[in-house]
């Protein structure tokens, strides 16, 4: 090819490439949605005009329909400056844009054309779109103008859109009174379940709860970088593996929390108990197996509640709704002791109603075989899994009332644990010292209730 030809061809190709780039840019994903909305809204107005008997009003409607069809194509956004949000969702969901659709209502049934449901409800009325934007409640990537990135279903956007009841977690972000709030029932149930099963015994939320495991006050902000991919691979929801690791609609924090409730956490995070990969053995997740106690729906409620536990989002104080602290029931004696047991989450380790101690990996206890170095690893693992927290009714009979109070106040340091396999890891969970955390009266009633459960043996004691 001569240089003259190459000159002409290269210039033509550069122009072509530029036009290609421009066309690609012009054919943005949002355009067809917005165009179709204007068309549909125009048709709806025409239909209204046809049904209208007053000729002048009908003519006005027709003009309006024409104007609607000719609306300019544009990126629309809600600037909720107080909450630091620029939400372009209304670029496609035009029916939810107050400027294009002042009534915020239409008859369309399909996304993204339909209007926001229940716009007349007190809930929506109290949270005007212009002030709150979209992502304050729904999450997702407000700046994006393409389907997958906008809903957060892409790698590197860690707050994908909240689905179903999980959205109630967003109420928890501002409403301290969500337990009595209309519309936040599932999140409220989640909190109840969280406390019923004793999660607070190990996990504090905003300082209230135990210190055995991580504080969950900012669990919704947990970066995916901190969740090992090979652990995410082991998660099973409804018995199925989560699809496509790059698609945050599945590999997200909600499913990570859910995974701990509908799987045995030790299966999700098995770690390295035999030191195959590390110099020291690392025990599996110390969290008990709740699969027999918590149903899938209950797990979803807990997930919804915890989805609202964020510190990352800076919400101005005037958005917060405070609530008075929960009232303590007027109980006394053993009945009060039972209440105290649940309040502080003792059941997290010792079981609901103190019936049976939960798993304590590699702790020496009853029902285990003698440790033998030559035992195959699978069998060793099974034996380590038999290690358990004390089943209190079997134990408390050997203490006097005062001794029991003292024991609870002092706790049992993690280092005092007796290991089943001396080469295995230290048991993760331990009895924290409760002195100063549980009041004297509560402690006394707790001890009374516990001793009322004590199993009496035949020896006459």
């Amino acid at each position: 090819m001569s240089y003259r030809k190459a000159f002409i061809v290269s210039n033509a190709l550069m122009l072509g490439a530029f036009i290609w780039a421009f066309v690609k840019d012009f054919r943005a994903e949002w355009r067809p949605y917005q165009a179709k909305y204007y068309q549909m809204a125009g048709d709806a107005l025409d239909k209204q005009a046809a049904a209208e008997k007053d000729a002048k009003k009908a003519a006005d409607l027709r003009v309006e329909a024409k104007k609607m069809r000719r609306s300019p194509m544009e990126i629309k956004q809600i600037i909720a400056g107080d909450l630091g949000r620029f939400d372009r969702c209304v670029t496609c969901h035009v029916g939810m844009d107050e400027y294009t659709n002042p009534s915020l209502k239409n008859d369309f049934t399909e996304n993204p054309y339909k209007s926001h449901p229940k716009v007349d409800s007190a809930l929506v009325k109290a949270h005007s779109f212009t002030k709150f934007g979209c992502t304050s409640c729904h999450s997702g990537q407000g700046l994006a103008t393409q389907v997958d990135p906008a809903h957060g279903w892409v790698k590197h956007w860690e707050k994908p859109m909240l689905k179903g009841v999980t959205i109630q977690g967003s109420c928890v972000k501002c409403h301290d009174n969500f337990e009595t709030l209309k519309g936040a029932e599932v999140a409220a149930q989640g909190k109840k379940l969280f406390n019923k099963h004793g999660c607070q015994g190990c996990h504090a939320i905003n300082g209230w709860g135990g210190v055995v495991s991580v504080e969950l006050g900012d669990i919704a902000d947990k970066p995916f970088e901190r969740i090992a991919g090979y652990n995410f691979k082991k998660v099973r929801i409804d018995g199925k593996e989560l699809p496509d690791q790059h698609h945050n609609s599945h590999w997200n924090i909600q499913n990570w929390i859910r995974a701990h409730l509908v799987n045995d956490p030790a299966d999700v995070t098995p770690n390295d108990p035999f030191a195959h990969y590390n110099t020291e053995p690392i025990p599996p997740s110390g969290m008990p197996d709740f699969t027999k106690e918590i149903t899938r729906e209950e797990a979803d409620a807990i997930v919804a509640y915890l989805s609202g536990q964020t510190k990352e989002e800076r919400i101005p104080h005037r958005f917060h709704v405070s609530a008075p602290p929960a009232k303590e029931p007027a109980l006394s004696g053993a009945a009060h002791g039972k209440y105290v047991y649940t309040k502080y989450g003792c059941q997290g380790c010792h079981g609901i109603d103190a019936k049976e101690g939960r798993r304590r990996f590699n702790a020496a206890g009853d029902g285990q075989k003698e440790y033998d170095e030559k035992m195959p690893e699978a069998e060793q693992l099974a034996q380590m899994n038999l290690g358990a927290e004390p089943t209190l009714p079997k134990l408390v009979g050997t203490y006097t009332h005062d001794e029991l109070i003292h024991k609870i106040e002092a706790g049992v340091p993690a280092t005092d644990a007796k290991k089943w396999s001396p080469k295995g890891p230290m048991p993760m969970v331990y009895m924290p010292a409760w002195k100063g955390k549980i009041s004297k009266k509560e402690l006394s009633d707790l001890a009374t209730w516990l001793q009322s459960l004590a199993v009496k043996d035949d020896s006459g004691f």
């Binding site: 240089y3 190459a6 000159f7 290269s10 210039n11 190709l13 550069m14 490439a17 530029f18 290609w20 780039a21 421009f22 690609k24 840019d25 990126i75 620029f86 372009r88 700046l143 994006a144 103008t145 393409q146 990135p149 590197h156 956007w157 860690e158 970066p223 970088e225 901190r226 090992a228 991919g229 090979y230 691979k233 390295d272 195959h276 990969y277 590390n278 110099t279």
Partner: protein, 553 residues
């Protein structure tokens, strides 16, 4: 009334003779005479950077690869796209990431612009390195072009620095951690860095050393972003521009090719012969970048979070080779001494290479030592980049391309140091320092002191036989496996061949100063191979460690 016939020639003449046209374009009607062609170059301030005539070999693509021109075309493309991006970008940690998202989702052609800037920057790094390789292989750096080669090396360094400073600007996880990896090495600078050898002795702390100066803080933050922005958009491009003018001016003065003149060699006109080639090169490059930018989006990860380290964290790809060296060396060697030696060594090459042959052609046989050692360096540089970029996964463990990163890898075996303070109280560096010094000195001197040229094949055979014997002994004692012996044979064999046999054969006749400088560079290169060997075969962390002054080899 019939119109008078249209006399195009007359109109053309009148237009060209008008005051307006004459004020803009000088010269008369284009007749394509030598005078016209010369006038085109002389009468245009931009084209005037060219000479009027050029040697015909400067026009051959196979000779020049067009890489110098393409590098400059990319620089212009980067300036153009960069200025356009500056209209949308604000360098503060609260806005930077959001502005990039806006470019991606809301600005017309914003994504295209950002892609073009990103990919052109990567392409420029490759083009500049290719340009350097071409100039080296054709011996074009030799007298009188030594100084211009040095400027070229500085321009290469600045190209890398420009790319590196730009890496931070999107303010995402990729940016902040790549820059953290890169700048942490500055903290290991000898004397000037708080973690470097001797640094603490002269009062370097984390908040007053060279890393602090670079970052404007003790960690990558708001000040760093502003500093990198100003360096990226103003300071470094200015310096590059000045050096480019110098670079071009020298080429023009020294003429395009260093080859000796052939009989009856006639120069050709730059206009149109060279200019049209330059245009096609630039147009092809632009087209390539445009299509790449349409098809592939620049990466953007989650917003930067100093509390969440990505695993693995990697430097920008062109520095990943140095990062890979961190596995084997302390940061002060991998991050400061090695790159410093590369830059200084490259600049020194024209002054130590006295070989008069092999100028103006790819004459491997006439310059066996220079070409072999240089290409060895280039291959090592890219091999280390490949390993660091493609074969390192979580925890910087080794993952083959077919292995999933979701597989857990065992931690590397524990390492030990040969000479240095020992737990049992032995103070073996008193032995190690003189021993290491003696070995290095012997290595330095021997190739020159053995006056007679050794038989390469016999020497290599004897050496490899010795290594194989040691390996066999190790295997018999159960201390080594077949892999370890293979490592030993490969690394020691390569170091011996390139570090001893070749210098002994080719440079022992050099004068002492040139010989010493060359050997320092050769031994430094070989030390990389030897240290890799020591780690992979014997799990040696340091050969010599002096913790009291943070000096580890």
């Amino acid at each position: 009334m019939p119109l008078p016939p249209l006399d195009i020639e007359k109109i053309k003449k009148e237009v060209i003779d008008s005051q307006l046209w004459r004020s803009v374009f000088r010269g008369g009607v284009w007749k394509d005479t030598p005078r016209d062609r010369a006038g085109h170059i002389i009468g245009n301030v931009w084209l005037h950077l060219h000479p009027v005539k050029v040697r015909p070999r400067a026009l051959k693509w196979a000779y020049t690869w067009g890489m110098g021109g393409i590098s400059f075309a990319l620089y212009l493309l980067l300036t153009l796209t960069g200025v356009a991006l500056m209209f949308y970008y604000r360098p503060t940690i609260g806005l930077a990431y959001q502005d990039i998202k806006d470019l991606e989702f809301a600005v017309t052609l914003g994504m295209f612009l950002r892609n073009a800037h990103r990919w052109a920057a990567q392409a420029m790094v490759v083009a500049v390195i290719a340009h350097m390789v071409r100039v080296f292989l054709t011996g074009a750096y030799k007298k009188p072009r030594e100084f211009n080669w040095g400027i070229g090396v500085l321009l290469l360094t600045l190209t890398l620095f420009l790319s590196f400073t730009g890496y931070l600007l999107p303010w995402d996880q990729l940016a902040i951690w790549a820059v953290t990896v890169g700048t942490n090495m500055a903290g290991a600078t000898p004397v000037l860095g708080n973690e470097g050898p001797l640094g603490s002795l002269v009062g370097m702390r984390i908040n007053n050393d060279v890393r602090f100066t670079l970052l404007g803080g003790t960690m990558v933050g708001e000040n760093t972003l502003l500093r990198f922005y100003v360096m990226h958009c103003v300071a470094v491009p200015l310096v590059v521009g000045i050096l480019l003018i110098l670079h071009f001016w020298r080429i023009r003065k020294d003429s395009f090719s260093a080859a000796p003149y052939e009989a009856n060699e006639e120069k050709v006109d730059v206009w149109p012969h060279l200019v049209k080639r330059e245009y096609i090169g630039a147009a092809g490059t632009t087209l390539f970048i445009m299509i790449w930018s349409i098809l592939q989006n620049a990466p953007l990860e989650a917003i930067a979070n100093p509390n969440v380290t990505t695993n693995p964290s990697k430097a920008p790809w062109y520095f990943v080779g140095l990062q890979e060296l961190l596995v084997y060396f302390d940061p002060w060697i991998a991050g400061v001494v090695m790159p410093g030696l590369i830059i200084v060594g490259l600049i020194a090459i024209p002054y130590i290479d006295t070989n008069p042959k092999g100028i103006g052609s790819y004459a491997w046989k006439e310059r066996p030592f220079a070409n072999t050692l240089f290409m060895l360096g280039v291959v090592m540089w890219f091999a280390l980049i490949y390993i660091g970029y493609a074969l390192r996964g979580p925890n910087y463990a080794w993952y083959w391309p077919w292995e999933s990163w979701f597989m857990v890898k065992p931690a590397p075996p524990p390492t030990w140091s040969v000479f240095g303070p020992k737990p049992d109280g032995a103070y073996s560096m008193l032995l190690g320092i003189p021993l290491m010094g003696a070995i290095t000195a012997a290595w330095m001197l021997l190739p020159k002191l053995i006056q007679k040229e050794l038989d390469g094949k016999k020497t290599m055979g004897a050496f490899l036989g010795l290594v194989a014997l040691v390996g066999a002994g190790g295997m018999a004692m159960g201390k080594m496996g077949a892999t370890e012996v293979a490592f030993l044979l490969f690394f020691l064999g390569a170091s011996f061949y390139y570090g001893f046999v070749l210098p002994q054969r080719h440079i022992r006749t050099l004068d002492w100063p040139r010989y010493s400088v060359t050997m320092v560079l050769v031994i430094s290169t070989m030390s990389v191979l030897l240290k890799m060997c020591a780690r992979l075969t014997f799990n040696i962390k340091y050969v010599l460690t002096i913790p009291s002054i943070s000096m580890n080899f």
